[in-house]
Structure formats: C-alpha cells, structure tokens
Symmetry: D2
C-alpha cells in the first residue's frame, strides 16, 4: 500500500470527448479514498506555471456529458526542458502532491516517463485520444464518440449524395492510423476506405466504383487524413481523371470530430479507467497506462503504451470489400 495523500489530474495533447468523464472519475475516486485532489490547468504547461487548484465533488458535477476538457490542454515547450520539469515538480511539491493521473496520448506518456525518471513521482496514465492508436487498451477514451460523429455526418452527406447520384470523398481524422476511417467506413456502407496502413490499390478502387454503379445511386469513399494518396482532394482528382462524368464532391470533416457529448461507451470507459487509475496509484503502481482489454482493467508500462502502427484488423478490411457490392 502506498502513502499517497494528495493527487492531481490533468489532460494533455489533443482533447477528446470523455476526458471530462475521466476527470470526474479521478476526482471522485480520490475523494472516496479520502485523498486531497487537485486539478492542473492546461496540461504540463499549467504544471510548469503553477496553475494548480483543489477540486471537490462539486467541481466535477454535471460534466460527465460535456465534450472537451474542463482542465484544458496545451502544448508546453518548457516542459520539454529539464529546468521546466524542475519548476513543474516544485509547483507540485508546494501543494504536497505525491501522485498524478495524466490523461492523454503517447506524447503525454513520454513526458510522464521523463518526469518520473527525474523526480520519482508516481504517475498513472489514461488513454485519452480519439485515434485509438495505443497499445494496451482495446479502445481509447474519445474514439467511440468520434466515430459516431463521423457516421452522423456521413449519414447527412449520404442524403444529398443519393438525391444527386453523386460520389463523395470524405476525409476523416487519423494521421497515422486508419482506425476511425475503417470503422466509420463499415458503418456508413462506404464503397472504399483508404488508410495509411495499406497502400492504395487504385485499380481495385476504380473497378469497384465502376462495378457498384448499377446497384447504388451514390457512392462514398472514406479517406483517413494520413493515407498516402495525399488526402481527399487528391483522391477525388484521380477518380475524376478516370471517370470524368462522375458528379464528385469532397468533404473534409475536420474538427467536429473532436467535440460532442461522449457516447455511453466513452463515458463508461472513462469512468472505469478513472477509478482504476486512482486505485492503481494507491496500490503503488506508477509509470503505467490503465487500459481496458477484453473488458478488464489492464496496466501497460508507458514504454510499451505506444502507437500500434500497422495493426489494422484484416477482417474489417475484408468486410468493407464484401459489403460494398
């Protein structure tokens, strides 16, 4: 058992729906175990600049359904330096903080690892990112909401595509990872899904577009922003070259994918992991990310909780092929 008495929670990296549910769970679990709980504003940057404040049960009332993060998030150049981390540590010490919960992605955990090495403070990480690209958890907090936002948007686009017999190329988030593209592509009945993990086979795509014309008034191609063809406009260009008579449109979904009220799945995931993170600190764990694998809370050392590039489920790709007849 640890002697932790005062913990702090912060969010870092890109924001993701469900971060507030995670913050709420960390704060309330801390209070449940009679700890003092602090919030840190603007991630590592707030830590460096002493933006640290006490939180109670009321501070997190009525936030579970809110998108974004009430603790805010920001980049911090200073925390990348040893002197910045030193200042951050001193700010924590002033409040007597002896345990941290860091909600973010792999960049967040890299910073946390450095901080542990230098200042020997227990930190547990939570996977808060829409990209679902981390080893150590089946799903990251925010991923389910982001895909549901994508499919709501593409369902609307399908309405207008059907009315005009149009082909739409829709670009979704995922710089290194096609997971948002792949699951949303299956969900909207996309004709093709282009992702960074797989080299685009243009001939196959053109063939499919041509072949599906007789069954479908509209066609939708989902493109992950990081795929190697160069984004939605470049893909549309190539299709237009081959099929000049197609009525084509491009839509870049953009930042709406980061917002919105979290889904049930993200709220439950964030709540479970928030509880698990505080209990892990109390059990003496540190330098690990709490994740959910096969429905069980699981801990993965930060050094292994990295991006799992290339780990695309082949079966899902096969399903796109079969169902987009």
């Amino acid at each position: 058992m640890s002697n932790i008495k005062n913990i702090a929670v912060f969010t870092s990296g890109g924001d993701a729906p469900g971060m507030n549910a995670a913050i709420r769970a960390v704060v309330r679990t801390g209070l449940y175990y009679n700890l003092n709980v602090f919030g840190i504003g603007r991630g590592y940057d707030g830590m460096v600049h002493g933006d640290i404040f006490p939180m109670d049960a009321k501070s997190v009332a009525n936030i579970i359904q809110r998108g974004g993060t009430i603790l805010k998030t920001a980049r911090s150049e200073e925390f990348r330096t040893a002197s910045g981390r030193q200042r951050a540590y001193e700010n924590l010490q002033k409040q007597g903080i002896d345990g941290l919960v860091a909600i973010g992605g792999d960049g967040t955990f890299t910073g946390a690892t450095k901080f542990i090495e230098e200042h020997n403070i227990p930190i547990i990480g939570l996977p808060g990112t829409i990209d679902n690209d981390l080893v150590g958890t089946d799903f990251t907090i925010g991923y389910d909401t982001a895909i549901n936002t994508v499919i709501e948007a593409v369902d609307k686009i399908r309405d207008t595509a059907e009315s005009h017999d149009r082909v739409f190329v829709v670009e979704v988030m995922g710089r290194d990872s096609g997971l948002i593209a792949l699951r949303s592509g299956i969900s909207v009945g996309a004709e093709c899904v282009l992702i960074p993990e797989i080299k685009v086979d243009y001939e196959a795509m053109m063939d499919r577009l041509d072949r599906t014309r007789k069954n479908k008034a509209s066609r939708v191609i989902i493109v992950a922003e990081g795929e190697d063809a160069g984004g939605a406009f470049a893909v549309a260009e190539r299709i237009k070259e081959r099929f000049p008579h197609y009525d084509m449109r491009v839509s870049i979904l953009g930042h709406i994918q980061r917002g919105g009220s979290p889904t049930c799945m993200d709220r439950v995931l964030a709540s479970r992991l928030g509880v698990a993170a505080v209990e892990a600190l109390l059990e003496g764990r540190r330098g690990e990310m709490a994740g959910l694998i096969h429905g069980q809370a699981t801990f993965t050392p930060f050094s292994k909780a990295i991006k799992h590039l290339g780990g695309i489920n082949d079966n899902l790709l096969r399903i796109v092929d079969i169902l987009s007849l």
Copy 2:
C-alpha cells in the same frame, strides 16, 4: 375552379431537407382531392426523358422524416432548349398530366416560367432551398434544418476550441446570401459574422477579437462561403498576420448542411405549402410560388420570387455586435 385531373410533382436544383415532406404533402393532398398523382424523377431531366410514374399514399409513407429527396434532382441541359422542353411536354401529355408542382429555387422557377409560356401548363412552385434567399416567403424549406445542422457542428467545435483556447474560422453555406451565417452566428455566440451583403470591416473585427480575449477562452468567426474576403482560409490568414500568437483553426462545414432529418419547422412548412400548392392548382392559379408570410400561405408570381440579395436584417447584425462582448 379548374378541371385539373392529373398532377405531377418534382424536385429541382440543390436538394434540401424537407423536400420529402413537401412531396408527401403534394401527393396526399392530390389524392384527397381525387386527383391522380405522378412523380417525376431527377427534376426537369426526368421530365425530358420520361422518368414519370404514378404515386399513391403508400409511395410517400414514412418519408416525412428523411433528408434529401426521394424523387432526386439533377441539372438538365436539354430542358434549357426549346426542343428539350417540347419533349418534356410530350412526356407529360402521354400521362395526361395537366398540373405540376415544382419544388426548388429561383432557377427552378425560371425554367417553369419558360415552360408555361411555351406549353400553357399550370405550375405552382414551392421554395425548396437551404439558402432562404427567395422573395415571397419568410422561410424556405430546408433553411431551418440547415442552420440547426450548422449550430450542432459549431457546438462540437466550441468544445475543442474551449479546451485549447483556440480561434476558429468556420465557413458555412451561402454563396449570395449571409442568412445561414447570420442566424447561426447568433445561435453559436460567434464573435464575428462575415457575409456577402456587407463589406468586411477588418479593423473592427481585429479590435473585437483583441477586446474579447479577456472574457473568452475560445472565439468563433462564422464566414459565409460567398463573402468578399475570399473564404475561411483567407480570413484566417489575415487574422494570423495580425495576431501571430493566436492558435487558429479553419473548418469548412460543407455538404453536411444539405442533409439530415428535417426539423419540425421545415416539416410543418413543407406540409402546409404542399397542401396549399395543390389547392392553388385546383383554384386555377399558375406561375406562382406558394410561400408562408407571417404565418399565412401567400402566392408570389415566379417573376417576383427571385433572390432577395442584400436584404439582410440590420437588427440581427446589431445583435451579433452586442452579444459578442
């Protein structure tokens, strides 16, 4: 009283949510008055190519809540020629169609006017366009849904903007009209709204952005696609020049604005106007658009149901100024 026995309905121009509700209302009202009712696929193009089919009460069951148009819409080069219109007329004659309801925008009514001149067939128009830019109706079918889609999207963007203290420039539809931008701007609490009807006062905008920093974590600027500054990216560029330290992002909402299940207001409007259109045909009206002004069905000759450029409500602009403190 007219001798009309067989009517047809079609949609033309850009699709808009609520078109299906209007189609349903036309079909059922026709049946209620013991008319035969036909649908025409793909607008004037379907008329030229004989894509005409009988519709009954069941054809329009369970469509009132659907976005898009089950009758589809398309451009028709052929209908722009006298010979194309001649073919269209012959196709209508084959089915004995002696009255038409045309759902679309001002381009649709221009075509209808020509068609009446040459072939003397009664046509009533319904205002189906998200732009709300037509003289003769307080609201067009689709406008209320489109703005609500915009505000749902910007509410999501606000989540992420707040989390990062960012400035977002969001581009909404409206090539010639700032009405979507203006109402959605008020609805999302935008700091500035740029519209084609008003020359952009950059100094005032920069001042406001600077001034509102202390009260607000995030700022949102709504830009109509047709405004004279050249679109959202150009606006973002200018702000960046002046305030290089701002964390800025651009989002082009695009085609999601045309889709989605229609709002109550659009369903009721479409239903009322669909009934009014058929009753107008039966009363011997022709060459007029049915609209709703001050809650009353009102008829405006096609020659006057044109775009009302420049008719921006000054009071709404003033409200943006007052409320974006």
Copy 3:
C-alpha cells in the same frame, strides 16, 4: 430615457430550453449599455431570500447551447404574500437594483404585475415556456426545441411501430394547449391529434384508424396531456375496445420535453428578446412582455400577455386530416 443603472434577471415557472440564451442576452446587453447586471437565483424565491449576485460577460460564456436555466427556478409561496414581496423589494434595494427582466410564463407576469403595483419597479417580461400559449408573441422561448424533441422521440417510436405494425398512442406536454401536439402531430405524420381545445370525435378517429390500415404499417396518435379524453391510456383503452386485434402501445414522453440544447430558432428568439428587454427598460417601458410578432419585437402589457386558450389554427387541424390518408 430612463435613469436605470442596475438591473437583475431571473427565471421563473417551468424551465424551458433557451432560457440560458435569454439570460446571456440580458446580461451582455446590460453590460453593453454600461449597466451593472445581477442574477437572481431560483426566481421569486431567491428574491425573497436575497439570492442575488453580480454577473459579468464571463458568467454567461458558453451557456447559449445549454438546456435548463443556470439561474434555476422554483415556486415561491412567500412571494404570494405582501410581506414576502416587501422582503424581496428590500433585497433588491440593498443592491440598488432599479430594473428587472423576468423570464417565464403568465404566472410569472402576474407576480410581476403585483410587484410593480406595490413597489413601483420597472419590469420587462420574456416569454419562457415550452407551451407557446401566450398572447403577444408568435412563439415562446423553448417551444421550438420542445417540439423538435417530441419529433425526434416519435421518429424513434415510428421505427419500432413500423417493425411490428403497431398503433402507438403518444402523450405530449400541453395541459391547456394543444400547440405542441398539433405541430408535432403534423411533423411526425400522425394519423390523429387529440387536443384540449377540440372535443374528441371518437367516431371520426375510429373511422380514420380503420381506413388508413391499408396504406400504413404503423399508426401514431398524438395526445396532449390536457385533452378531455383523459390522457393516452384512456384513449388507448377506447381504441382497444373497438379494435381488440390492434397491437397497441402507449408512450408518455414526459420530462425529456423540457430539456436539451435549444434549437436555432429558440436561441435567436431568446437573443433578440433579451436585447429588446434591456433596451425597453432603458426606454422607460415597464409592465410589458417582449415578444416577436411577424418578425418584429413587440410589447404587450402583462394584463394582456395571458394564455390564449382556444386559439388553435384551424388550418393546421385540416392539414392533419388531409395528410394522414
């Protein structure tokens, strides 16, 4: 011109979506005109108990999209007594408050009228109620959102009704007014709409149910809670007696109708009326409700801003009949 320097805003009666947008508009307009602005918690009850606090631009940041009311609302028995109102007045005087904006329904305005008579303080009312039952405005704040919530719910019910060929009786809010029932009934394509303003013609209803069987898999009857047949269960009972083989279900939508993020229409309405209310106080108006009639801000004395019972638009009833073939 008035000499008003310090105003306060409060919400009273049942809450309605858009109340927060109205509060925001009142606060920011007050600040725009260099007034001091206060909020009063829990309506007249907070006034009696001194729950009064200063508000600034930040107090109302990021609330325009939130349902409910951040100022809360409550019943107040004490304010019904002269001594309670005296205490309320003294609390206002302590802060120097010399103008009020009251957001609520006709009960709110009755209280306000008494308060003006006894204490001679300027009050402007805003129509905040989902029922849309007030003389002096085309729409009340919250009405459009409530109906859209109803139609979203009934669209979901339609899914399951269609799958089972069921008849659903759905009860919506409206104790004295069928306006929510009527507009939502048209919007969801209801087969019948029962409202308190019109005596139920059971034979006509049974005939229609019988007649529409051939065209429709499912049927939906919308019942306003105040209609004279005794609510949705009583209506279902009578239908079951006549058509024992119908697969019938009842759904009482209940309190979800009061919540949710306000629609564009309610946000714009609330924003416009909030601005108008403060400007009216500054122009020396008092004892009036600000409403929107035919798109123009209009002021109606509290004595006339009462419930307009019986004022149902016959044309809308006729549309239900025509379209539910």
Copy 4:
C-alpha cells in the same frame, strides 16, 4: 464445405436498432458467395404464411443507418405448433431455401432449434435484442444504441432536474436484466441504480440520497423495469415517504429505447456478424449463434445461447457507488 445455394434471412422477437445492418450484411455476403438470397417478412409468421421474396444488393441499399427492421417482426402462434412449422418448411422448400439466418433473441433460437430437429435445415442465429442478455456474445445488436438513447434522454432530464433541484426516478428497459440500467446509470452519473439482479437495499439508497444533497442540485435514480421494488412509481413513492420535502418526478422512457439510427458499434457488430453467419452456413455450421467475444467471431450452440440472468459485473456496481459521491 456445404452445398447451400439459397439462403433466407428474417428478424424475430422485439426489434432492435442494427437489425437492418445485419440484414444488409447477410444479403450482400450471400450475393458475394454467389448464393440466392431471400427475405422473409414478419419472422416465423411470414415463414408459415409464405411471405418470402428474393433480395438483391439494391434491396438493402441505404438501410444500414435505419432503425427497426425492414423485414418486420411478429409473434407467431402457428409456428409454435408442429403443423405450423411443417407449413413453414414447405414454403421454404418451394423456393429451394436450404439455409437460414435468424436475427433475434433466445425465443427466436428456441424456435430455430425445434425447426432444425424436425426439418433438418441449417440455421445460424444472430443476437438481435437491446437487452444484451445472451450468453455467447459480449454485446447484442441494438444494445449500444439503446443505452445511448437512454443517456441522451436522461441528459435532457438532467437539464430540467438541475433547474428545479429535483430528484428524478427514471425507468429504463430490462425486464430480466439490469444491463441497460447499469451502464446508462454510470453514463449519466446516476446517484442509484436499481436492477432485477440485486435486492434493493432501501436504507443504503436513502442514506446516499441524503448524503449527496450537499454536492448536487439534482439527483437521478435509474430503475430497470423488472427490478423487484415494483417499478419507478413504487420507488418514487418510498422515497417520498422518507423525504416528503423532495421535489420528485418520475419518467418512464419506454419505447423510444427500441428505435433510432444505430450507433457505430451496433453497425459494425451487425456487419461483422452478418458476414460471419453466412460464412458459417457455408462452412457447414448450424444450430449456433454467431457472437463477438473479445473482438472475435464466436459460435455458441442455441442450447447455450440463453439469457445469462444474474451475470452482473460487480465492478460496475462498485463504480456507481464510488462516483455518485
């Protein structure tokens, strides 16, 4: 390898969102493997009465996002008799159907088991029910959508509860299973969750309600319809007895929980299982339900794919306790 050439798909039992996505997947996978695919209307009842029709890729275009089931579902007394099943079998034989995919719950699989015993026809089942109460799959098709519908509704109720400092008792679906109640309870931050699997500890509930008053303006209690206290009204009654001054309200969410556009999770689940079902038939499987366990398609004999009563995750109950401080 099997010799199956002609398969049919049907839905049975209560409808669930995602059934259409499953139908689409079965039809398209059948076509992909060059099978003839039929649909059967109204479940076993349609089988008995010969409501069987060919389906192609187009029959299932643009349905993945629709709630309900295009094939409809119904009870069938006749199929419970041997002679009814005989007729059903003869109808299948007329079309040469030699494989079935049955989408439904444990009642559906009981019928299927009888049918296989008597007529030796291969059947694969898919878990289509919002209750998530089947052994053999981590999630059933429709469950995730239903909970998200619940939390959207309760988020709205929270708005009005907060405005009035009210206590709401909300009843959700789940006659034998508290799974919807439990996950939605965590998601909405419910103060208590009452489920059929656990005897209600009224003293603990009253204590918690009393204790949480200081931190929270509103309180929400989620009650599964089957819990032993007798439903939401009975629970509210008991609370009212103990705390007469509470402002209490009851809301029965009812049938909206069965409808709505399916979430990403349900669409992907239905798509994966639809593909798996057809491939299982082709591999010679029969009398099994396809489910997803730990992300892998898994097959469970109908005899074991029964309701898993009592299998509540204790950890989730603990989380309700910790987080509802």
